[in-house]
Each structure stands twice: as C-alpha cells, then as structure tokens.
Symmetry: C2
Subunit: 352 residues, 2 copies
C-alpha cells in the first residue's frame, strides 16, 4: 500500500473550474491528510486561488497548461486540440506514468472517457470501459454499472461488469463477497434479453470467489438495496440513473409545494425543519458524486460538472478510497479468478 495517495486533479474541469475544484480538494485534504495533489491547469487562474488555501498549497504541486477541454466539445474535437497538453490529458498522463495513483476531473464526460481509453488503455481481458455510480438505497448504498460508457453488452461484457462492480463494492462497503444482480424486466428466467439470460445462466452455474450472484433484479429493486451491485448495459443503466434523479427531483418539488400550501403546513414545516434538513442530507446528490471509470489501466473519477466544493470533495474522497483500498488489485484478482472461469464457460457454451 502506498505511503501517500497521489491524486492528479484536472483543475480546469467542470462548470466552475479552480474556484470550486480547489476548495473541494482542500475539504478532502482535511479528511485525508495523506493526500498529495498534482494540480493541472492554467497557473494564472489557479495560483491566486491556491494562494488563499495554504494547507492545500503545501500538499500540492501545480503543473501549468493553458489548454482546457470545453464542456460541450465532442470527444473527437477534444482529442484533436487537447491531446498531450490539456489539463485533462495531463492528469490522466500522470496516472499512466505512475506519478499519480488516480485522476479526478469534473470535465466533459465523453472527452474524459475518450482520453482515458486512448491514454491509459484497457485492462487485459476487458474490451470496453464502464462507468459505475454509487446509488443510495433504503439499506445504504449500491454500485450500479454501466451507467453510460457504452451501449449494448454481450454476456462476456456483463460478466466483466459483475467482476469489476463487485471489486468496487468490496472497496467501498468493506464486504468480502458482495451480492450481484443482473438488471432485467421480470424475475422469471424466461424473460429478458438473450445476452442477459445467457449471462444469468453462466453466473448461476459458476461459483465466483469474489461475489455472490443473486439473480435477476428489476428497476424497483435498485432503490430497495436488494443487491450490492447492479449490473446492466450502459443504455438501460443511464436511463435508470437519470430517471431516478428525475423522480427524486419531482418528489422534492411536490414536497416544497405541499409545505407552502397553508399557514398550518408552513408552521409545520418550521417545526419539522430539522427533519427536512436530515431528509435533504439523505438525498443530497453531492454525497454520492463521482462516477468511477472501470476497465482501464488506471483509476479515473468523474465528478459532476455542476458540483460545488462539497461535491468535488466527495469525488476526491472516492478516488482516495479506490487507491487506499486497492481497487485495481481487487479488479485484477476478480478478473484472474472469476473471469477466467466464466470465459471458459463461455467458450465451452459456444461449442454446444
């Protein structure tokens, strides 16, 4: 285990850049004094902010670049003008060169994914990357993946997702053998996509040392926390994530409107304001900010573009945990054992 956790931070990423990203890093540093930051960004913008944060400044090294990826560029555009020299690229490059343990960026998701693939390359045995999200549930939290890195998934990719997601759940939740569910419609074995059914068959018939296969789960099982890891391909996963966000937003709007309806409800609100604050805290999207890019030769955390300092700190905390509790080694372990077994199954199944 490394002595320090070295975090490469794209200071120019996100809607706000340095004025939000650096205070976020400072918050995370108070929680994890063993972080060392490598900051990438335009020093004329970054240095003045950094000068006001002496603790962070003492734990950081700033690398200047005046190229920053714009939030609305297509990945191909971003690669064209930002490769080799943008703050995003340089943060990833620090991970590649072994100068940092993890890269964190609130920049353009598509560009970050494209650059991550291009620079870090995929782990052996994994063709396509995935984005894993932390999903608050009635029981605590679950890992849900893929929430939008790639569309469609064959059975081999779904099994890779199970292995990677459970490695992440082991890191986050400190459980030896997380439970894994395959997202499907209907719990009968007969239903669902061919690839999902086939992946379900292999997962059911194989014993994986690093996770326990639960079976199919449906959309409403995610929020119930039925399993630690929910596996799905990126199209359905992204729609599930966004739909849940939309529903939470809708509920909060209704609640606000309801509490403003009469003088009694307004007074009731005042009396219960602590309870409402606790509820708001529970639903605070900043708490579960940070998608983890999985399948790459290195750890990359995507923070939400609109995050404030607290949200940025959550994303950095997540990066810290992934390094401290050795995500990559755990993925490697799962891939060596589990996936090897599953791949053999797939190969023998293909011949039958």
């Amino acid at each position: 285990m490394p002595d320090k956790v070295r975090i490469a931070l794209d200071v120019m990423g996100g809607d706000h850049g340095a004025p939000v990203v650096l205070p976020g890093a400072d918050i995370s540093l108070t929680r994890h004094p063993d972080i060392e930051f490598l900051l990438f960004g335009d020093s004329t913008v970054v240095q003045p902010v950094l000068d006001r944060l002496p603790r962070l400044k003492a734990a950081s090294r700033l690398v200047h670049t005046d190229v920053a990826i714009r939030m609305d560029d297509k990945p191909s555009q971003a690669l064209r003008y930002g490769r080799w020299k943008s703050s995003m690229w340089l943060a990833l490059d620090a991970v590649k060169k072994g100068e940092a343990d993890v890269a964190v960026s609130a920049g353009n998701t598509g560009a970050l994914m494209a650059m991550s693939r291009f620079n870090l390359k995929m782990l052996p045995g994994i063709d396509r990357p995935a984005i894993a999200a932390i999903w608050p549930t009635l029981k605590g939290e679950s890992v849900v993946l893929d929430v939008g890195a790639s569309i469609g998934a064959d059975e081999a990719h779904l099994i890779n997702l199970a292995a990677m997601g459970s490695a992440m759940a082991r890191v986050l939740f400190d459980i030896e053998r997380p439970t894994v569910g395959l997202l499907n419609i209907g719990v009968e074995e007969v239903k669902g996509l061919e690839q999902v059914r086939e992946a379900g068959r292999i997962l059911r018939e194989t014993r994986f040392p690093d996770f326990a296969y639960h079976g199919f789960v449906e959309g409403d099982d995610i929020g119930k926390g039925v399993v630690d890891v929910v596996v799905t391909e990126g199209f359905a996963g992204n729609i599930a994530l966004k739909t849940a966000e939309g529903t939470a937003h809708q509920f909060a709007s209704y609640l606000r409107a309801a509490m403003n309806r009469t003088w009694a409800s307004r007074l009731g609100y005042l009396l219960a304001v602590q309870a409402f604050n606790a509820l708001r805290e529970k639903l605070d999207p900043r708490k579960s900010n940070g998608g983890v890019f999985l399948g790459l030769n290195g750890i990359v955390i995507k923070s939400h573009g609109g995050s404030d300092a607290e949200g940025t700190a959550s994303a950095i905390d997540m990066g810290y945990d992934m390094v401290r509790y050795e995500l990559l080694a755990k993925i490697g372990h799962a891939m060596a054992g589990d996936i090897h077994t599953a791949t053999e199954k797939l190969a023998s199944g293909a011949g039958s």
Copy 2:
C-alpha cells in the same frame, strides 16, 4: 360514437378477484353511468358480491366460467388451459366478437398479452404490441411506451410507437398535436443506439399531422414533463418505470422516517397533515393505474394485480375514456397518415 360504453371485465383477475374488482367497477359506474358491464368469472364467487352492489348488478350481465388464469403461470401454460374458456379469454373474446368495446383485467400480464395477441390479432401495419403507461410529471401527465411488451425495437417499430402513443395522448389530454420525444442517453445527435438515431432522423425529417416530434429526451426529462409522449423500446421503458416507482417509494420511506424523528417533527407533521395528504394523493399510484395494450385489434387495459377498488376504478375509467374518445380510430388515423409517410421514408432510406 356508441350510445353505451360496453366493458368486458375479467372479474377473477388480480390478487384479490371479485371482492375488489366489483367494488372498483361500482365506483367507476358512479362516475360513468353510461357503462354496461359484461362480467366474466365463477358465479359462485361473483354472484354473492354482485348481490351486495345493486347499482352495478343492474348495469351488468354475468357470464359464468370456472376457469381462471393464475397470477404466476407462464403465458404458454395459461394459453394451454385457459384458451376458449378462462374469464380472461372470454373478456377478450367479447371485444373480438363486438359484444364489448374494451376488456379490462388485473390478471397475469404475460398471459393477458399472449391471449390478446392470439385472439385479437395485431392492427394492420403493426408487428408487435406495446404497453403504454401514464406517467405523472411536474406538468401533469405523459404517456410512456413501451413499458415492457417486447424487447428491442427497430426504427419502424419506434415510429409506430410514436404514432400509437400520440393517439393515446390525444385521447387522454385532449390536445390536437401532442409532442413526442425519443428516450436516449445524451441529447447530442451523435449518441445512442443506431435504431434510435435512425428513428430520430426520420421523425425529424417528416412532418406528421398527428404529433410534433421534439427530439431526444433523457431519463430525467420524463418526470419534468418535457414531452407528452415518451417513446422507447420495452426493456429500457420497463426499467425506467420500475426505477421511478422504486425511487418514489424510497423517498416516501425517508420522509416517513424523518417526520418521526423528534417531537417537533411529529408535531410539525400533525400541523402539515393536510399538505402531506395532498402530497400522498399526488403520488398515489392508484390514480395512474392501468397500462394500455396498443397495436391490437381492440382495446385492452391491464390493471395492476395488487390494485384495490379505487385502483381498479381508475383502470376502468381509462378503458372508458379510450372508448369514448375513440382511441382505435385515432390510432387508425395516425397509422394511415403518419406511418405511411414514415414507411416510405424507411423504404427510400434503405436504398440509399
């Protein structure tokens, strides 16, 4: 327009059967005195309940059958023992024979879909059925389809869904040209599945008299009510629907827990109880109970298996509206105009 709306009711469907279905029918009858019911079920069970509901009894004719489809049977099993004689089949058959205008059942979804296809057959030009749901939004309600009738959809099916869903929105919301969005991940034209992109291109380039194409929408746009009709294939649609249900349930649990936390919050709750009741009413799943099977030669409404009488009444109300405001004629109109145009586009596109 028919003088009476004739509703064929599968009295044995759902988790509770006659003791819930008949009181539900009675509630709906008070709202729509021009309903005539054709009831299908075991008269030894149904008759005693019906005898206690004189108003409903006067507006109904009971057809006895002692075969009922079980809630957990596979569609193939249900077809084997229930064809020609189960209460579910007979309700559908009444629609086929023109003795009823719509069939309503709270029975097993898979069996109901299989029997509907087998008995009623598909509308000309439509290969596969769809299930449309009413989705409560911040602006009111939207139609979302397909929420699970079939998995995967090519561009032609997506365009059929747009036509059928907008016909339903015209019936429900009384708007001449509903807006239609295609569910996708990311709003950039470059993203998403090939079929979704291609359907988007055709919808964008064609002018449909019966609906206005809005463009791509994401999961969180559904709850915002960005469009009147959200079109997606059944796998993603079902996951979106179930995930939203799960999130709403989760939010309600958190809220209950928060309001029980301290004496002040409990007192606040008491003061605001009317506001909470209004909120509960807003979120009441019974209000939007009832999926509509689309694409068939007849109207079939699926009520939720666990519905109570109020929920059943909502499903029957929906069936009533679909008949009264001529859903099938509107679908026919949309299919004749819109789909003809789109199909020509597809044919010419295939040659390019």
